[in-house]
């Protein structure tokens, strides 16, 4: 009787010792940075909790790819530097994959198609990107819209007015401080939906290249990147991605390119 108990106890202790380090090695915890002012991709609840499409995606990716997610609200300004400094392991913040950014960080496979759109007052005579040349154009600092407008108006043009976030930029447009603005269609549409009192006109232009959002890690961090890509593939395949997408956007679930 006593020996039986002893054996059982020993077995218990042994298994816990054996299981603990193994479990830790299998599921690392990554610190994930995301900006807090990019509705509906990431924003903060009154309880300071980060929520949004990106947040749901990275949580699902973590679960499927085998890592724990520790979310930290990180302002967009300087967000890339947090990877190099080791403050964050992963950033997901509606980041469009561009060649220039590829030089600084490594990107996961695309997880969201990002289209740019021009927003103006209802009466403005703007038919496309070319018409912005003589206007004051609002963009979010170093966003994809900023890059597109910079190409059109010149990188150092003072007609480009850069703001910290989309709501600030759209407020300035609404107040007549800028003549037009350029931003991500998903964010803009969500803003218009939640502010029906502000009349805006959306202008699409084929000159905006179709681009995609990616999840970024520090250059050379292959371990994290592989886990992210594995997780992403899994949630797309098993329908979790589609479920999250439908929860945040009205439109049909897009097919993502594999790369």
């Amino acid at each position: 009787m006593l020996t039986k108990r002893l054996v059982l106890a020993a077995a218990c202790i042994l298994t816990t010792f054996a299981a603990l380090p193994a479990a830790q090695a299998a599921d690392p915890t990554y610190t994930v940075g995301a900006g807090g002012t990019y509705r509906p991709f990431e924003f903060e609840t009154p309880q300071k909790e980060l929520v949004g499409f990106d947040i749901d995606v990275i949580k699902a990716v973590g679960k499927a790819g085998g890592f724990n997610v520790k979310l930290v609200s990180t302002p967009w300004e300087g967000i890339f530097a947090t990877l190099d400094q080791g403050d964050r392991d992963i950033i997901i913040s509606g980041i469009t994959i561009t060649d220039k950014r590829r030089e600084m960080v490594d990107f996961s496979a695309p997880y969201f198609p990002a289209d740019q759109v021009i927003i103006t007052a209802p009466g403005a005579k703007v038919a496309g990107l070319a018409d912005l040349k003589k206007l004051q154009v609002g963009v979010v600092n170093s966003s994809t819209g900023d890059i597109a407008v910079s190409e059109e108006l010149g990188r150092a043009s003072t007609s480009i007015r850069r703001f910290d976030n989309t709501p600030l930029m759209l407020e300035e447009l609404y107040r007549g401080g800028v003549d037009a603005a350029v931003g991500d269609v998903g964010v803009i549409k969500f803003y218009i939906k939640s502010h029906p009192e502000k009349p805006f006109k959306l202008v699409y232009d084929n000159k905006f290249k179709r681009q995609y959002f990616g999840i970024a890690v520090k250059k050379g961090n292959k371990v994290a990147l592989d886990k992210i890509n594995t997780g992403l593939k899994k949630i797309v395949a098993d329908g979790t991605y589609a479920k999250i997408y439908k929860q945040w956007f009205d439109a049909d679930v897009p097919t993502l390119p594999q790369q």
Partner: protein, 250 residues
């Protein structure tokens, strides 16, 4: 890190040049407007009469509002004041759809051309006025009461006493803190980058945003700010020696 990349700076040179000009323009206007406002407020803060109607008028219609004003602008962050003025007060006054002062297409035109500039200058000037008024108050109070009494007994009016006897003496003592205030304005103008005013800090924000590099742009504008404040303090020193002469025995 890859060393100090000069090409980043040179690529964005027009932005840095325009940013410097904008910072200078902002500083000059705000220093002048802030000093004038501060003079009016400082005198208003001290306005008092011994008896009769003016005693109560000066106390409740001049002194108390000025105290309230100074307390508000010194008691809230300038950054908040800039946002408050740009996104709340100015849209109320100048708005294409029913602004109190200007409305219609002209308002749109003004806002898009000068909106951020006007808001920044207004906010910084109002803020500086509050601080400068305290400098004036301290300066005026530091002049011996006998000076004013002597002037009044010579038959000078209140304004004459202030203009010809008290203020010239007080001004000498106020120069160092006024210089300090001007230097603070140079640096405070950087807060206007939040409303999209293309000044120096805005240029650095743009560059760091585009390249995710922080040494080059922020070191660059630090040097420019430093140069501006050095020139400014040299100018104040020059004024001090010039207006301080009367105090020195030759």
């Amino acid at each position: 890190m890859g060393g100090f990349q000069w090409n980043i700076i040179s690529e964005y040179m027009p932005l840095f040049v325009e940013g410097t000009l904008m910072t200078l323009k902002c500083t000059v206007i705000c220093v002048i407007a802030g000093t004038l406002l501060g003079l009016v407020l400082g005198v208003g803060r001290l306005a008092e009469a011994r008896h009769g109607f003016y005693k109560y008028f000066l106390r409740y219609a001049v002194q108390y509002p000025v105290r309230f004003y100074v307390s508000f602008f010194r008691g809230t962050p300038l950054f908040v004041q800039i946002l408050l003025i740009h996104f709340a007060l100015m849209p109320m006054l100048i708005n294409p759809s029913g602004g109190l002062i200007i409305s219609g297409d002209f308002a749109r035109e003004i806002r898009s051309q000068y909106g951020a500039f006007m808001s920044a200058v207004l906010a910084i000037s109002l803020n500086a006025g509050a601080y400068v008024s305290e400098i004036f108050r301290a300066g005026i109070q530091s002049i011996d009461r006998g000076q004013a009494e002597a002037a009044r007994s010579l038959g000078m009016t209140y304004m004459q006493t202030l203009r010809k006897v008290v203020l010239p003496q007080a001004f000498r003592r106020m120069l160092p803190p006024l210089g300090n205030n001007a230097i603070a304005i140079v640096k405070d103008s950087s807060l206007a980058s939040a409303i999209g005013l293309a000044e120096l800090a805005y240029a650095a924000r743009t560059v760091s945003g585009a390249y995710a590099r922080y040494w080059e742009p922020y070191l660059m504008i630090s040097l420019i700010y430093w140069a501006i404040t050095l020139v400014l303090s040299a100018f104040v020193q020059h004024l001090e020696t010039r207006y301080g002469k009367g105090d020195r025995r030759q």
